[in-house]
Symmetry: C2
Subunit: 299 residues, 2 copies
């Protein structure tokens, strides 16, 4: 497998020793870990191994970006049944390496084990390059709320797959292979973002974490969520599904949501979709909105 994993620029000691040694030029390191379990987070009949690897890497790399950091390295734990085809494992590793490279990082180490079910643990590390980390806790009343990346396409793709449909192809492709806007995270930090979060569980639910951590309320205006022809096409293919629900509640696109002081001029990739107000909770068009529950994290 090592041959599939080129050393990254951050690697001082890579795969093959007791531990990797990586540059952390900022004298701080940003670190996150997610688990993916077959049957819960992916299905082999719906996603090719390459896509599972890309997705496993993407969701962790997006968490690094959401702190305002630049990803430097991944560590990967891989547990699988002994009868798993070697080609599947190899494609998984290729996918991890490809997505790491997209974000400027590399796979620097990990572990393999046997297990009855495929489980993938990915740790991502990143560097803040002198910027303050952007937490979930800094949103202030009056701030603008903005999003980088697309909303709801992954959820639309999942709904299509669950209905046995492989088209429209756009949302299905995003569900299999999300494309987080990695560069938008450090960009937001440089623009003075007051809070930021990776949208993994759904816009409303994840903004609920920001609202709670910040001790503030958040208003979303659905009229400002860009109309997405891919979501409309998917909704039509499913006989008239609620495309806006995907945008509000669908996770796994790994778009980034951030808040910025009023008046901050934002580059085009950041779309303003609402504002921070005094109070608590997330309102959608002025009403509180009960989103579906997502994965519980370790907090």
């Amino acid at each position: 497998m090592k041959a599939l994993l080129p050393a990254g620029t951050a690697q001082l000691v890579g795969i093959g020793d007791d531990a990797a040694v990586l540059r952390a030029p900022d004298a701080r390191v940003v670190a996150t870990m997610d688990l993916l379990v077959e049957g819960r987070h992916f299905r082999r009949d719906w996603s090719a191994a390459l896509d599972v690897g890309r997705k496993a890497a993407a969701q962790n790399l997006a968490d690094i970006a959401a702190m305002g950091a630049v990803p430097t390295a991944l560590l990967v734990g891989f547990a699988a049944p002994g009868d798993l085809p070697v080609a599947w494992a190899r494609d998984l590793v290729r996918g991890l390496a490809q997505e790491a490279a997209r974000a400027g990082a590399s796979v620097a180490g990990g572990d393999v084990s046997s297990a009855d079910t495929i489980m993938i643990a990915v740790t991502a590390l990143g560097d803040l390059a002198g910027r303050d980390p952007v937490t979930r806790g800094g949103a202030r009343p009056g701030d603008q709320l903005a999003v980088a990346g697309r909303l709801g396409r992954s959820a639309a793709g999942l709904a299509l797959l669950e209905a046995g449909l492989a088209r429209p192809a756009g949302p299905v492709a995003v569900h299999r292979r999300p494309r987080p806007p990695y560069g938008a995270g450090p960009q937001a930090a440089s623009l003075g973002a007051t809070s930021m979060i990776d949208i993994s569980d759904g816009l409303v639910q994840d903004l609920g974490h920001v609202a709670e951590a910040s001790g503030a309320g958040i208003d979303i205006e659905t009229a400002r969520i860009a109309d997405d022809p891919q979501l409309r096409a998917a909704a039509a293919a499913l006989g008239g599904a609620d495309w806006l629900a995907w945008a509000l509640a669908g996770g796994e696109d790994h778009a980034l949501a951030a808040t910025f002081a009023a008046g901050t001029k934002l580059p085009p990739r950041w779309s303003v979709i609402g504002a921070v107000r005094a109070g608590t909770g997330v309102h959608v068009d002025g009403l509180s909105w009960a989103g579906r529950s997502g994965w519980d994290h370790f907090r």
Copy 2:
């Protein structure tokens, strides 16, 4: 769970955000990951949850020490069936936090998921404090070979448990709860160790990695391996097992083996048990020795 996990001194942003932010004062970070799968790496009927947590942390923290670094933080991924008693998960977390604290570190983040089998992924991070990392690749002919920590007790404990015995208690306790000599790693680095490895798969097998990475041969003199009354007692309880085989082939004590230039004066915790020579492979008392195979790592 967060209440069970006190923030460590290295933590700038801890559990509850997209990612943790940790001090890396040396501008490098040492990072490693291991997986533990129920039925492969631990059994709930043999080990309490607290001990599984301590062991999961210990084996990763020992890898950090084996690079010459001081552990700073753990990230923990935990997948388990929905019917797992909450107390089991809580004790696991307690064990992880306890062992992290023993090594001067803390649990700074992670993820939880459901799964049919318990799986634990632990990432450990560490700081070199200005020292060069000690890899497996620097052993040179003429170097002394030394070990810090005990050899074979965990394997003896496992053999007792497999035979349905809970006594002698010493080796069983070590099997459940290894006590790696964390401080010996940075100490060896400060003494100029030319190579170092965490003994997780067995002394001979792990020294085989050092020999290969260093392009040298290694000689172990069994007469210099300290006679261990605990191993002798376990061997007697099992009707005359080969205690030396445990010391040579047993892993999971997480002792450290290191090589030092000839003439390096070593503190008492480091016992010289052999030397590096020109050539290849590991010889035990002058003969090549086929050790049992261990876990394959991701290399």
